[in-house]
């Protein structure tokens, strides 16, 4: 098993999202028929079945829906990071996503806490969004 952090391998359905993160834009698919936003990306709108989807830029704000402090790393790649916060953030646009929370101690993270997107340029190809408390942003 690898010691390197697992990074996303974009595919044709997700490439626009990861192109967005490289520009520090958080993009979400929006249905041009029913107007609803969804995430993770689908080929058809999960709300109405339409295939007419376009990418919008999210505002980057949300709140912590749930979180866990990881003490036992899943692989050696995460060993130096423990304890770290894995969270689900509810974006203001509606969809949820999994992320990390930084910019505060794990003990300070609460459900409902307002957060804002921040960016980790891991390498020239991959940029990962994470979230920080909004008061610090």
């Amino acid at each position: 098993m690898s010691d390197e952090r697992p990074l996303p391998t974009p595919d044709p359905g997700t490439a626009p999202y990861w192109e967005g993160t490289r520009r520090h834009e958080l993009r979400l698919p929006r249905c041009e028929d029913c107007g609803q936003v969804h995430f993770y990306p689908r080929t058809v709108c999960p709300h109405c079945g339409s295939a007419r989807l376009a990418w919008i830029e999210a505002c980057g704000r949300g709140s912590v829906y749930s979180f866990t402090v990881v003490h036992r790393p899943p692989s050696p790649a995460f060993k130096a990071r423990v304890p770290y916060v894995v969270a689900i953030v509810a974006l203001e646009e509606g969809p949820h996503l999994m992320t990390n929370i930084a910019g505060c101690t794990p003990e300070e993270v609460r459900i409902g806490m307002p957060v804002e997107v921040a960016w980790e340029d891991v390498d020239p190809v991959a940029t990962l969004p994470y979230f920080v408390p909004r008061s610090l942003a």
Binding site: Y40, Y65, S66, T68, R72, V86, M98, L128
Partner: protein
């Protein structure tokens, strides 16, 4: 009540640390035990269902297992509903038998998950496998237990569920396992021991998490008529249901409501029964929080009351709803996709009054529930003792 098919035989391999048996040997051990139990021979088997294993890439697992056992079935299938596979195998076998495609289906699953790999390798393989989204989740470092920790944290927030209440699930499972001679872990546990075990991914501690074990389980499904002519009293399939709420927890907006709501409703409707009719509930227990959510979503207590239901002692052998009476994945053992199959076998034992020291007196109707992914896909079975179904007609 009406039966769609019957379980005529069950068998388990040794469960726990079994370093001297391969995955195929464990499955053979379980299959032979099930045949012996039913009074059948391998040549009687004309259907076979199995699941993928994690310890090897068998390509076409049903073909590999059938070939290893030397059977040439007229119906084969490899089924993968993750942790719900055990329960679903029984229903798929019932459909195969009811369609007339075959008469006698061997369902078998299990592997040497503990001995084949180191525990940490198994954990990394699981963390980077289907439970977590490769692009949108794995890069953030969740363990599989983290997915359930996110559910637990939200459940605590919404309903006031406590870590002590979750610990009580682990204590109860260990109590049940102490009465199961084949269980992996049988030493008693206390709430204090669970609470002081190592934090893995808050709020889940080591003893809130399932074991990693070696082992396999098997069952033989046939028509109710044929089952009545065999060695053991038949256990009837009275109803079943499925429910899928999501595939990845990160995108699911109602984490504390599981697909067990739908699988339970469908199972009770098809059996024409209600939660009050269940004498024993074999609930999937990959983590302590899983049992609490399932108790609520299957309708055994109101939403949000699962923690209190457990703390009040309802799920113990002398409680109002004896639950996961073999000790479950938390204490009896968890060999991957075969893990949830042991719950079905335990329901059969309870309905035959063969559960020894952990027998629930007078058990006539049992529920067996499997959950796969991060509380994502559910299969609920309702099973009845031999005398709940009259010969050829509805009671």
């Amino acid at each position: 009540m009406k039966s769609t098919a019957a379980i005529a035989g069950i068998g388990e391999s040794r469960l726990g640390l079994v370093p001297d048996r391969s995955a195929l040997q464990l499955q053979s051990d379980a299959a032979r035990a099930a045949l012996l139990d039913a009074g059948l021979k391998l040549s009687d088997i004309d259907g076979l269902i199995t699941t993928p294993v994690r310890v090897a890439n068998w390509g076409m697992p049903c073909g590999v297992v059938a070939s290893h056992l030397g059977v040439r079935p007229s119906y084969l299938s490899t089924l993968d509903l993750a942790g719900a596979s055990g329960a679903a195998m029984i229903h798929h076998a019932a459909m195969a038998v009811a369609s007339g495609q075959c008469t006698t289906v061997l369902c078998v699953a299990g592997q040497n998950l503990l001995s084949n790999k180191s525990r940490s390798t198994a954990i990394q393989a699981m963390a980077e496998s289907g439970g977590t989204h490769a692009q949108f989740e794995v890069p953030y470092g969740p363990l599989i237990p983290s997915l359930y920790a996110l559910i637990a944290q939200r459940h605590m927030h919404e309903y006031g569920t406590t870590a002590q209440q979750m610990a009580q699930v682990a204590v109860t499972m260990r109590k049940h396992a102490s009465l199961n001679p084949n269980a992996h872990m049988r030493d008693p546990l206390t709430v204090e021991t669970v609470m002081s075990s190592r934090m893995i991914t808050s709020p889940l501690k080591l003893l809130d998490c399932a074991l990693v074990s070696d082992g396999a389980a098997a069952a033989i499904v046939t028509t109710p008529e044929r089952a009545r002519a065999l060695r053991k009293p038949p256990v009837h399939l009275l109803g079943q249901g499925y429910g899928l709420s999501h595939s990845h927890v990160g995108e699911y907006r109602n984490l504390t409501r599981s697909g067990a709501v739908d699988s339970g409703r469908a199972a009770f409707a098809s059996a024409r029964l209600t939660p009050a009719d269940i004498d024993v509930a074999e609930l999937y227990d990959c983590f302590t929080i899983t049992v609490i959510v399932e108790l609520e979503d299957l309708g055994f207590c109101p939403k949000g009351e699962g923690g209190r239901f457990v703390a009040d002692g309802h799920i113990g052998l002398s409680g109002s709803l004896p639950t996961t009476t073999h000790g479950g994945l938390l204490s009896a053992g968890h060999p991957g996709l075969g893990g949830g199959f042991f719950h079905v076998l335990e329901a059969v034992r309870q309905l035959r009054a063969e559960a020894g020291e952990r027998q629930v007196s007078g058990a006539k109707v049992a529920l067996a529930h499997g959950n796969g992914g991060a509380i994502a896909i559910h299969c609920t079975l309702i099973l009845g003792a031999a005398d709940t179904v009259t010969n050829g007609a509805q009671a």
